[in-house]
């Protein structure tokens, strides 16, 4: 068995890994004399993070909101749909292929239609992020529900439990940690989805990191585009951590404590 690392050591290593990558990148850019318009050095990106901070922050607030609301929507609706599909073979047969098929629709095809319906605000972006994140949540939750021991439900029946009570005591607790796991898988693609969704256009003053990346590349400010990407990456790490924490607090049984007394 692997020994678990001390949490402080784990965080330190988690920072050290990216730092090593950044150091190698810095060395490569300096030694090979790479054009900063193609690939800026980490120090240039850092400078942009400081210089353009208010611009970046405003854009982040928009994108962050899109990602979190989209993810939350996917979590609630995805878990709900998974439970419906678990309960009804008809719903499952009807919607199963659809859930998978919608995954295959490229965002640039989807975005204009949604913008047409929902306008240039954050609405269509949230919907796109939700659609993209929906799939891992549904699949993961459904999988967990399928693995629930059917004898648990039968035992509850002998205690006189109704279908609703079995849902409350058996299916819902089984679905919860799985839905959160699905959301964890979805976090990284949520950021990408938000960026692509923004390409379809936004209102003045509600431009997120996606549009910022686009215009930065257009004006050859590649360092600013990378600064935006850096923010997206850090945000993804933090969101995943928050979801892991939520899982531990809301579903402690799904997290076997190492060294717990047996």
């Amino acid at each position: 068995m692997r020994r678990p690392l001390h949490p402080a050591v784990r965080v330190a290593l988690g920072v050290l890994g990216p730092l090593l990558l950044l150091a190698a990148w810095q060395a490569y850019v300096r030694l090979a004399d790479v054009d900063p318009i193609l690939l800026p050095a980490p120090t240039d990106v850092a400078a942009s993070l400081v210089d353009d901070r208010s611009l970046l922050w405003d854009a982040f607030v928009v994108t962050g909101q899109e990602v979190l609301l989209g993810l939350a929507t996917a979590l609630v609706l995805g878990a709900g749909l998974a439970i419906l599909m678990h309960l009804s073979a008809i719903v499952r047969a009807m919607l199963g292929p659809l859930v998978i098929g919608i995954q295959a629709v490229p965002i640039p095809v989807l975005a204009p239609v949604l913008v047409f319906w929902l306008g240039f605000g954050v609405g269509p972006k949230i919907v796109i992020v939700a659609i993209i994140c929906f799939f891992p949540v549904v699949i993961n939750t459904l999988d967990a529900l399928d693995r629930v021991d059917p004898d648990l439900g039968r035992l509850l029946q002998t205690m006189g439990a109704s279908r609703r009570q079995r849902l409350r005591w058996v299916e819902l607790p089984a679905a919860l940690p799985a839905a959160l796991s699905g959301a964890k898988v979805a976090v990284a693609i949520a950021g990408i989805a938000a960026v692509f969704a923004e390409y379809a256009g936004a209102e003045q003053g509600s431009e997120g990191l996606g549009l910022l990346i686009n215009s930065a590349r257009f004006s050859l400010a590649t360092d600013r585009a990378f600064a935006a990407v850096f923010i997206l990456a850090v945000f993804a790490v933090l969101t995943t951590g928050a979801l892991a924490l939520a899982q531990r607090l809301l579903a402690p049984w799904a997290h076997r404590r190492p060294g717990a007394p047996r």
Partner: protein, 265 residues
């Protein structure tokens, strides 16, 4: 799909006249497709009596308990049972609930509030000195501890008839013996009518007031043995009456199995 001929009556609590028998089964037949499992089983459990049910693996013991608990119906025969609590072959504790909430579950399902149900569960756990495990989840408990919690959950239903399906089947010999004593104590404190499935002959002789031996599939009753060894709590494996009961159970099983071999050739 119907159950031709089979009839089930669940006594409504309080179960009729005070002396009503918690379980009366007559001519129980159960088939799964072409597989005839039970073939005309008669079985009674008197109030506060422990009836041990022994038989070869796969002869339909769990199936019989499920019928008594209302999870399936017989294909023929009549079954008249008081509301029964099941302690399943595997503990089947809910992994997301701690020991206390698992014990409280039947009360919650019957409509008690959380606080009230927890207080009752705590009382049950405390009385058997398991209070310090109240907040442990099943994955933090040993196998023996999980079985105790599972048993207390069945007790918490307050149902007159307890159906215990190999309650100690998955345990090592020492824990098994420990739990057997523990169970006898619990039943002495608060007598219930018990239908106990086991394939441990000694366990049947030590806990049962009567032992019903089933033959191989399609199973019928091959022997009914009463154990005149006093209350289960005070029995020892070496008591002459226990030794005698063990021998008779063994003989009945062996004869039934041999008959099976003869029939197969």
């Amino acid at each position: 799909m119907g159950y031709p001929g089979g009839s089930v009556r669940v006594q409504s609590p309080p179960s009729g006249p005070a002396a009503a028998r918690p379980l009366t089964a007559r001519g129980i037949v159960r088939r799964f497709g072409d597989l005839a499992v039970l073939d005309g089983v008669d079985l009674d459990v008197a109030p506060h009596e422990t009836v041990a049910l022994v038989g070869p693996s796969g002869c339909g013991k769990s199936t019989l308990l499920e019928m008594v608990c209302g999870l399936q119906a017989p294909d023929a025969g009549t079954l008249d049972a008081a509301p029964a609590a099941l302690m399943p072959q595997r503990d089947l504790l809910l992994p997301w609930l701690d020991a206390r909430d698992n014990v409280a579950l039947p009360l919650r399902l019957a409509g008690s509030g959380r606080r009230e149900a927890r207080a009752a569960a705590d009382a049950l756990l405390d009385r058997v000195e398991l209070g310090r495990f109240a907040r442990s989840r099943p994955d933090e408990l040993s196998g023996g501890m999980r079985q105790r919690v599972s048993f207390l959950r069945a007790l918490a239903t307050e149902r007159e008839l307890l159906c215990l399906d190999e309650p100690f089947g998955a345990l090592d010999a020492i824990t098994r013996e420990e739990l057997r004593h523990w169970l006898a104590e619990r039943l002495e404190e608060r007598p219930r009518s018990v239908l106990l499935v086991t394939h441990d002959v000694e366990e049947a002789a030590l806990l049962g007031d009567r032992v019903i031996v089933l033959g191989p599939r399609p199973a019928g009753v091959v022997a009914r043995i009463s154990v005149d060894a006093g209350p289960a709590r005070r029995r020892e494996a070496t008591d002459p009456a226990v030794v005698d009961a063990r021998r008779r159970i063994h003989d009945a099983l062996r004869t039934a199995m041999r008959g099976d071999e003869v029939a197969a050739t």
